[in-house]
């Protein structure tokens, strides 16, 4: 009888043992692919194709814009900024160190971080004097930030111009240190994200500081209006 019971136990318990182990393994190995899928989904439908469900509970209106990336008209070192509203996508970031483009939203919020990189509204607009601070999730849009090295370029395309920054310094700081994200007198771009931590949400941040090396304000629109 004992033998019979033990055979039953083996044959019944074993599938559940295998199932539990496989679920555990699948939970872990599906983390990265799901992050990547989230990024790709946002990138594919970035160009004003998305109907963004507004977050009624907090009044956030997310607006995706078609950003000019193939401008062929005249440019100038000086020009006017087009100031975005909170929750508005106003730039696309590309870099020699990134494979993918990254949409940049004005303002930072949990929902906006799911859609792209976020610029703190307490920093200066792209191309202006001062510290432009942009951050994104380490698992998604800034997964390649750690690949940037000194000398790499970061190009930010907006609807008022294209601005190229060159990486000057790699930085690392604690979450409670505002030194790199506070306004500055010199013109710079600060990109940062969480340091890679297998459990996520680390206290340490890594990033880069870049100097503005090229400014191209789009001037053709103004000329067209004047004509």
């Amino acid at each position: 009888m004992n033998k019979k019971n033990s055979y039953v136990l083996i044959h019944v318990a074993t599938p559940f043992i295998v199932l539990a182990m496989c679920i555990g393994i699948l939970l872990i190995i599906s983390i990265k692919p799901s992050d990547k899928l989230k990024v790709y989904k946002n990138l594919i439908f970035m160009d004003e194709l998305k109907l963004n469900p507004d977050d009624e509970s907090i009044g956030l209106k997310i607006k995706d814009n078609k950003i000019i990336e193939d401008y062929k008209g005249t440019t100038s070192e000086d020009g006017e900024f087009i100031r975005p509203a909170y929750g508005e996508m106003y730039a696309v970031m590309k870099s020699s160190g990134f494979d993918l483009s990254v949409p940049v939203y004005w303002g930072s919020n949990i929902d906006l971080f799911e859609r792209g990189a976020c610029q703190g509204s307490g920093s200066v607009i792209i191309g202006a004097e001062g510290n432009t601070v942009i951050s994104a999730h380490e698992d998604t849009f800034f997964s390649e930030l750690s690949k940037l090295r000194k000398g790499d370029t970061v190009t930010l395309s907006t609807n008022y111009g294209e601005f190229t920054y060159t990486v000057r310094e790699l930085i690392s700081f604690k979450k409670d240190n505002n030194k790199y994200v506070s306004p500055s007198k010199d013109t710079r771009l600060t990109l940062y994200t969480c340091k890679k931590d297998i459990l996520g949400s680390a206290d340490e941040r890594i990033g880069v500081i870049c100097d503005l090396t090229e400014k191209k304000f789009y001037t053709a629109f103004k000329e067209d209006e004047e004509q």
Partner: protein
């Protein structure tokens, strides 16, 4: 399964076999369904061309006030067959780009009727207002034609390949697409190899091989079936918030098709697994009855002797 020395390795191998079966199922479905032919067939089945025409009509009606060109100048010469040909051109271009890992390059098929209609309209209008048909006139006409093809192309790019390419996603997809035969072979080969290992471990008594392979198939089938049923029954992909109807239909239909194919294959795998377990159970029970009957025979002899 009488010994730990067979049970434990078989247990570990079956865990890996589940993952290998899931992977090989996914890669096989991907390999079969993600092709230009299937994409074109889907486009035709879902009548994407009519959705594109509706959108183009709306666009040209809205633009008519600004451009001065009535919508019918364009739309009277854009047929569903023509739109189908443009959609097919984009699909072919996308898959060519992925196969050869190069940037997207699609030539929108020419529409001589539309070009002629535009030329006629421009000419008649110029005549009516006494406008000289100089270089600027012909440049404007050419630009109008170029923009028309651009608009048609944008609308017919139902899988947004141009957007994929612009943002770097196409190159990632291209990598996966070019590796898919290797990945399919590796995953299927891996599954077969693991089954052989399980057979080797259970060489003395091969029946447990049926059991281990069976439960691995059942569990892999469950992993494929349950999420697929959830996605299809809750119409999960309908929650994609995409403005353009043809893009929405193209993507959601493709997702549903892949999910349904995966679900069907997973259910098949589940059934195969159940069958293997039943066969094992039957053979085990038969063997046990034989073993029991051979144990009682000496006792009967003793009893008869007594």
């Amino acid at each position: 399964m009488k010994k730990v020395s067979t049970y434990l390795p078989s247990l570990i191998l079956s865990i890996f076999l589940v993952l290998a079966l899931c992977g090989s199922l996914a890669m096989t479905i991907f390999d079969i369904n993600v092709t230009a032919k299937k994409a074109k067939a889907l486009s035709e089945k879902k009548e994407l061309s009519s959705k594109v025409i509706t959108q183009l009509n709306k666009h040209y009606r809205e633009q008519a006030a600004a451009t001065g060109i009535p919508a019918n100048v364009f739309m009277d010469n854009i047929s569903e067959e023509y739109i189908d040909s443009v959609i097919d051109a984009y699909i072919d271009g996308t898959f060519t780009s992925m196969k050869k890992d190069r940037s997207l390059n699609v030539q929108v098929p020419k529409n001589p009727a539309m070009e002629e209609a535009l030329e006629t309209f421009f000419s008649d209008y110029a005549d009516s207002i006494g406008y000289e048909k100089n270089e600027a006139f012909y440049k404007k006409l050419d630009n109008t034609k170029i923009n028309a093809y651009k608009n048609i192309g944008n609308s017919c790019d139902v899988f947004k390949a141009s957007s994929l390419g612009k943002h770097g996603v196409l190159s990632k997809a291209s990598k996966l697409y070019r590796l898919r035969p290797l990945l399919t072979f590796a995953s299927v080969g891996g599954a077969v190899l693991l089954m052989l290992f399980i057979l080797a471990v259970n060489w003395k008594d091969k029946r447990p091989f049926l059991y281990w392979t069976g439960i691995a198939s059942v569990i892999a089938g469950i992993f494929g079936t349950v999420p697929s049923i959830y996605l299809v029954s809750t119409k999960y992909f309908d929650s994609f918030s995409i403005k353009q109807p043809q893009v929405f239909t193209a993507y959601t239909s493709s997702m549903y098709r892949l999910t349904e194919a995966f679900m069907a294959a997973s259910i098949s795998l589940f059934v195969i697994g159940i069958a293997l377990i039943v066969i094992y159970g039957v053979s085990y029970g038969k063997n046990k009855r034989l073993a029991d009957s051979s144990h009682t025979t000496p006792e009967k002899s003793e009893a008869s002797a007594n």
